[in-house]
């Protein structure tokens, strides 16, 4: 007995001694950050992060293999602690949640056979299944069963729905989903996603400068989910009220309706309808990422600046908008007349953005009220988005006469409260763009006796929106096409009395693809006139470009735009970014909104110290893909486009009431149902459609789909 106790004691002591020596001899210096991180982690060893226990997770974080917010159980608080240990930005500690965010990329091949399998992955292994895209979801609820937190349920339409409260972002659903339809991502990933060439992009989405997910919001609008539709739009465009009214909709050019000999779907009716609905049915403000403590100066409160500020704010930064004018909105306020875009509507949209926590400093002009050095001392980055406000000159004699006005200067007078009396006067507007149209229609509303438009090409070449050209004509504007001003003649007091113009004819196409107008010698004609409004193009002003900016290395092009990286919009000064018209030259409102989001992404990455580059295959702007399949669809014929209600001409030309009215819910739905759902049916293959048309029995889900799809019925 005694000896056994002694032996056990001996073995015990021996073991202890060996371990003590081994611990000394085999001591490995551990990065103190690993220990600190391990202490910060909850120690639950739940494995939710994908590593075997908290210790290995801590090691992975310190080795840079896992993000600082890898811990699922700990949530944002732990992520912030870990970020502090690692010395990185807390901004990356955004919560992650699962969601559908189908871009159509990197997914299943476009073939499918239903083999009776009961699991998405089994089905995927058998090549496909009854896939319908929003989605690309097989609808067999594998993610529902896999979710350890019961956060996913199958919705009424057979697609999984994630409960935001229950979801911890653990990623189990993403791991089991074979088509990666359900994904775990951060808000910023979603907001800052740009189209990629491997994605299933419907043609309208390819052409939209802001890359709005058009089929999705149309789909939601048909189902009556207006608030959700607005959310979808606002992920790409925070100004749907404005765009729903004035956007010329370049997206419509790609609409597949055109391929079957029909008119394109009128996206703006739908966008405006849902946006107007939201204005009258206030929704909860959108989700904002945790505060990053970073501040950004946004110079210029136009569509671009507002768009950038909106996204920067949603990413958790603190943008401050500076604007030289007394109110925000830029060209949307001072360039677009009241009858097209009521200021009340504009104010609502701007207030919605400001309510997120965006600070505004109006009547502050760059170079006059503050300098770049002031900005550098207060802000982490600067965005220059002051637009293009300088009017091009008519380049003819007599331009400084009393009565010769510039387009944008004339248009902003009303908003600035400057009285303009045009009653009974003869007005000539020179130009063919939207500014010219706005000048014509505004002059009429200010009482002008006669408004004539001089344009040196034909109606077909006018860059203005077609609806504007038509509306101006309906209201009584006289079109003097193929005519260019030659000379402006005044009386002895310097007051404009006559305009001399010359007739033109169209010659060879020029660089812009439009036929170059050539003057017909000797065709000079005189016309009596009281006011000439020159609206022949704009370019950025240069008054803000002071010496200190030049010394920092900021360069301007010969068109007064800022020189910056084509994709990231970062200027030669790393902390100065640019976007909108100040970068591109005069362009559409939706272009400014699109570049605003793009520059927000660059600033976000700059502030977090990440690489500014885009993933391979990214399209930063509109890009028509050659592979788009726009063949007519069997069984789908033309459907009449819904027409927009508008005020009668007699009721509208004496005032600035909004002309175009919102469509009724029924008309909106009719129009939305004209959408052929390109890209939302990318897995709906020919075999299935042929089976349907020849009356053969269909596989279950596709059959249901056809039953419920008015466009394919």
């Amino acid at each position: 007995m005694g000896i056994s106790a002694l032996v056990m004691l001996g073995i015990g002591l021996g073991a202890a001694a060996i371990l003590a020596v081994a611990a000394r001899v085999f001591y490995v210096k551990v990065d103190p950050r690993i220990t600190a991180t391990e202490d910060a982690l909850p120690g639950a060893n739940c494995g939710g992060c994908g590593y075997a226990g908290c210790a290995s997770c801590a090691e992975a974080i310190v080795a840079g293999k896992a993000p600082v917010d890898a811990c699922i159980a700990g949530g944002p608080e732990v992520a912030i602690q870990v970020a502090a240990i690692m010395g990185t930005e807390i901004g990356v500690a955004e919560p992650r949640t699962a969601n559908h965010f189908c871009t159509g990329g990197d997914r299943a091949e476009r073939k499918f056979h239903y083999e009776g399998a009961l699991d998405c992955r089994a089905l995927f292994d058998l090549h496909g299944g009854d896939l319908r895209c929003k989605v690309g979801c097989f609808g067999l609820a594998t993610c529902v069963r896999a979710c350890p937190f019961d956060a996913i349920v199958m919705g009424p339409e057979g697609y999984p729905e994630v409960s935001a409260e229950k979801c911890t972002g653990c990623g189990t659903c993403e791991r089991v989903c074979p088509t990666k339809v359900i994904q775990v991502f951060k808000l910023s990933d979603r907001l800052m996603h740009f189209n990629n060439d491997h994605e299933c992009l419907p043609p309208c989405r390819q052409l939209c400068p802001a890359q709005i997910d058009i089929p999705s919001y149309i789909d939601l609008a048909t189902k009556g989910q207006y608030a959700e539709a607005v959310d979808v739009i606002k992920e790409r465009n925070p100004l749907p009220l404005i765009c729903g009214r004035v956007c010329p909709a370049p997206c419509e050019a790609g609409c597949r309706r055109v391929a079957i000999g029909d008119e394109p779907v009128h996206h703006n009716y739908i966008k405006r309808f849902v946006a107007d609905w939201e204005m009258h049915h206030p929704q909860a403000p959108p989700v904002i990422s945790p505060e990053t403590g970073k501040t950004v100066a946004v110079i210029g409160g136009g569509p671009c600046g507002l768009s950038a500020a909106y996204y920067l704010r949603r990413l958790g930064h603190r943008p401050v908008i500076f604007d030289a004018k007394p109110a925000l909105g830029g060209m949307a306020r001072y360039g677009i007349p009241e009858y097209r875009l009521p200021k009340k509507t504009l104010d609502f949209e701007i207030d919605e953005i400001l309510d997120l926590g965006v600070e505004v400093r109006c009547n502050q002009q760059m170079g006059r009220d503050f300098t770049i050095a002031d900005l550098e001392s207060e802000f982490d980055a600067t965005l220059l988005a002051m637009g293009a406000w300088d009017n091009s000159s008519l380049r003819c004699e007599g331009e400084d006469l009393d009565g010769v006005w510039k387009g944008t200067e004339f248009l902003q007078k009303r908003e600035l409260g400057i009285k303009v009396d045009l009653s009974g006067k003869r007005v000539v507007v020179v130009g063919g763009g939207n500014t010219a149209m706005d000048a014509c229609r505004s002059s009429l509303r200010m009482g002008a006796g006669e408004v004539t438009l001089l344009y040196r090409r034909t109606r077909k070449e006018m860059p203005a929106n077609q609806v504007e050209i038509d509306a101006a004509e309906h209201e009584g504007v006289k079109y003097h096409l193929l005519a260019a001003p030659k000379r402006l003649i005044g009386d002895e007091k310097g007051k404009l009395t006559q305009i001399e113009y010359i007739k033109m004819e169209l010659g060879e196409p020029d660089a812009s693809g439009r036929r170059r107008p050539v003057a017909i010698e000797g065709s000079n004609t005189l016309m009596d006139v009281d006011v000439v409004i020159a609206a022949i193009g704009q370019r950025p002003l240069k008054d803000w470009y002071t010496k200190d900016l030049e010394e920092r290395g900021l360069k301007l092009t010969r068109w007064n735009t800022i020189e910056a990286d084509e994709k990231t919009l970062q200027s030669d000064v790393p902390h100065i970014f640019t976007a909108g018209d100040l970068w591109s030259g005069p362009a559409l409102l939706i272009d400014a909104i699109g570049t605003g989001r793009r520059v927000a992404r660059s600033i976000q990455r700059f502030l977090l110290g990440l690489d500014l580059g885009f993933p391979e295959g990214t399209f930063v702007g509109p890009q028509k893909l050659a592979v788009s399949n726009l063949v007519p669809v069997l069984g789908v014929g033309p459907r009449v486009r819904v027409s927009q209600p508008e005020l009668q001409v007699a009721d509208r030309i004496k005032n600035f009431e909004e002309v175009d009215l919102v469509v009724s819910p029924e008309s909106m739905r009719d129009e939305a149902l004209r959408c052929m759902r390109c890209g939302t049916l990318c897995y709906f293959n020919d075999e299935q459609r042929d089976a349907h048309l020849s009356g053969r029995p269909l596989r279950k889900k596709v059959g249901e789909l056809l039953q419920n799809s008015p466009t394919l019925r």
């Binding site: 056994s4 056990m8 073991a15 081994a22 001899v25 085999f26 490995v28 009961l118 699991d119």
Partner: protein, 191 residues
């Protein structure tokens, strides 16, 4: 040579430590959900079991037997195996970091693996000499690994089939383990 072959085949197939002797069921059910962890665990077990088989044999024959205190064998072996595992962990971490990374967290888990203790005791009970004890330990560990990897392969498939709610997870796991054991029963006629 023939005897050694018999020992190896017997340990791997016929008297499989997991499926015939039902030792080491905890890791068998615990780490068999993913093939990756199953392989890691199998590797760690082979490593530790072989070492433990050798050391416990030495302790038995040069410490316990001379004093005639074989009755404290179980206690002594537990202590020795625990120390051994800790030692191996420290050693690997310093000297062979790559192997440490691969076996990682499985090493501490083996401390409480009854398969290790079981094999060490069988070595003594069967009266193996040192060489046989090492061969038997290694072969038993290989058998453990084989069963674990097979089982993990089957369990991975469970994720893609519909299992009745009542027997999801461990329930179906145990049923499968039983069936697997039955199928190993067929090896009985080999020797």
């Amino acid at each position: 040579m023939n005897h050694t072959m018999e020992l190896v085949i017997g340990a791997i197939f016929i008297n499989n430590i997991l499926l015939a002797k039902f030792l080491g069921n905890c890791p068998f059910l615990g780490v068999s959900k993913k093939m990756e962890t199953a392989v890691g665990m199998a590797g760690a077990v082979v490593f530790v079991l072989t070492l433990a088989g050798m050391i416990t044999w030495l302790v038995e024959h040069y410490l316990l037997a001379p004093f005639g205190i074989e009755y404290i064998r179980t206690m002594a072996f537990i202590l020795i195996i625990a120390t051994l595992v800790q030692f191996v962990e420290l050693f690997l971490r310093k000297s062979i970091p790559a192997l440490y990374q691969a076996l990682g967290i499985f090493l501490p888990l083996i401390t409480t693996n009854c398969a290790v203790l079981g094999v060490a005791i069988i070595n003594i009970q069967e009266g193996y000499d040192l060489f046989d004890a090492i061969v038997f330990s290694a072969a038993s560990a290989a058998g453990f690994g084989l069963a674990l990897v097979l089982f993990a392969g089957i369990r991975e498939r469970f994720e893609t089939i519909r299992v009745p709610k009542q027997i999801e997870g461990t329930g179906i796991g145990l049923v499968t383990a039983g069936l697997l054991a039955l199928s190993f029963f067929a090896f009985k006629g080999m020797i």
